[in-house]
């Protein structure tokens, strides 16, 4: 018996993309540079975020949205740095979409009573699959891959590497231990995304962090000037 194959996610994604594009335009107008930070659980998203806030907080007003399935651990950590933060619960969902993000931004602005900020960072749910599908309206998508995850990950999660403007390779100080071939990793990324900026770094040792800070500061300044 013959059967058809139907691509059922198109409309869902199309609806999401519309909401995301409107969000992106609104934030650009307000001079808010919005980053969607993605990566596996344990890749070091929060650690990199903390170092980034510490390095740039004197130059930019930074605010954070922590997305999590259920806990508030990361918002608790970030709040200790004294920057505006809000915890978003997806209650079981493995990604943030544009609509959920819009609600988060609204709630954050209300919480901060309209106090302006220059850089807004969403720490997305730890997952390399679904978050890659959903544009949340960020100016740039940044993904963190940690060395212990392996240099073959661009082959296994092609879409995540395709949609990311920046790839941070965290825990680079452990690359000998984990036999992580940096050149092979770069090639694997390039196959999917020749334009991606790649920054090998270690939130723990500080190695390579300056290059990422400089990139982000330059990008955000461009956004703020607009």
């Amino acid at each position: 018996m013959k059967y058809n194959v139907i691509e059922v996610k198109e409309r869902v994604i199309a609806d999401n993309d519309r909401v995301a594009a409107a969000q992106r335009a609104r934030l650009q107008e307000k001079g808010i540079y919005f980053i969607n930070l993605m990566g596996s659980p344990g890749a070091g998203k929060t650690s990199v975020l903390i170092r980034t806030i510490e390095a740039l907080r004197n130059r930019f007003r930074i605010a954070v949205m922590e997305a999590d399935v259920d806990s508030a651990v990361d918002a608790e950590t970030i709040s200790r740095l004294g920057v505006p933060v809000i915890q978003l619960h997806t209650a079981g969902l493995c990604h943030m979409d544009a609509d959920m993000t819009a609600r988060g931004i609204e709630a954050l602005m209300e919480q901060e009573q309209g106090a302006p900020f220059d850089i807004l960072i969403l720490e997305n749910i730890g997952n390399l699959v679904c978050p890659a599908e959903f544009d949340v309206g960020a100016a740039k998508r940044v993904m963190i891959l940690s060395v212990p995850e392996g240099d073959d990950k661009p082959l296994k999660y092609p879409l995540m590497f395709e949609v990311s403007d920046v790839v941070l390779v965290n825990k680079i100080d452990t690359k000998e231990i984990f036999d992580f071939d940096e050149e092979r990793f770069r090639e694997n990324v390039r196959m999917r995304n020749p334009q991606a900026e790649i920054f090998p770094l270690s939130a723990r040792t500080g190695e390579g962090m300056e290059a990422w800070f400089a990139w982000l500061a330059q990008e955000a300044e461009r956004g703020v000037r607009k």
Copy 2:
């Protein structure tokens, strides 16, 4: 610094529930009994489905929607049985929502040129998390847990067991090997969902399958008579 916690998925789920409820009403009106079949990858969803079709095809007109991230393996298998089947691709998404399901049903009805059916079964994406969140408009939700997954799964995936009307415990012939405690499993399910019907069975040996067939036939007959 103080921070708020925001439940961001509410609106997404509320929108989905509206579409699902409308779908459910439409199918009931047409006398189509719609089952949402869920479970982990490898739990035996397709095997149970095949046995069920073989057992009930002379009494009911059965149609199947196979949802998968990317392949058409399951639709290929089901199509060999000669029942109407359609393959739905979520292209990376880990669950079906009500809108995607509605598109699938529409496409299936178009493919079959309006030929009526009594039982419609959606084989959902292999995943115990996100599919539990999304009502797809089915009359009943059936989940398959296979013995090797362990008798503690209701504790780890509470929502899936909470929303399921029926729990099929597949590969029950291996329960000695995997030290699966059926009574403990029943207790774990009951804690979350005292009403759930539990059928221990084996698609391989046929053990326990008759009770499930009888339940489904009775349910479907009630739907068809309406």
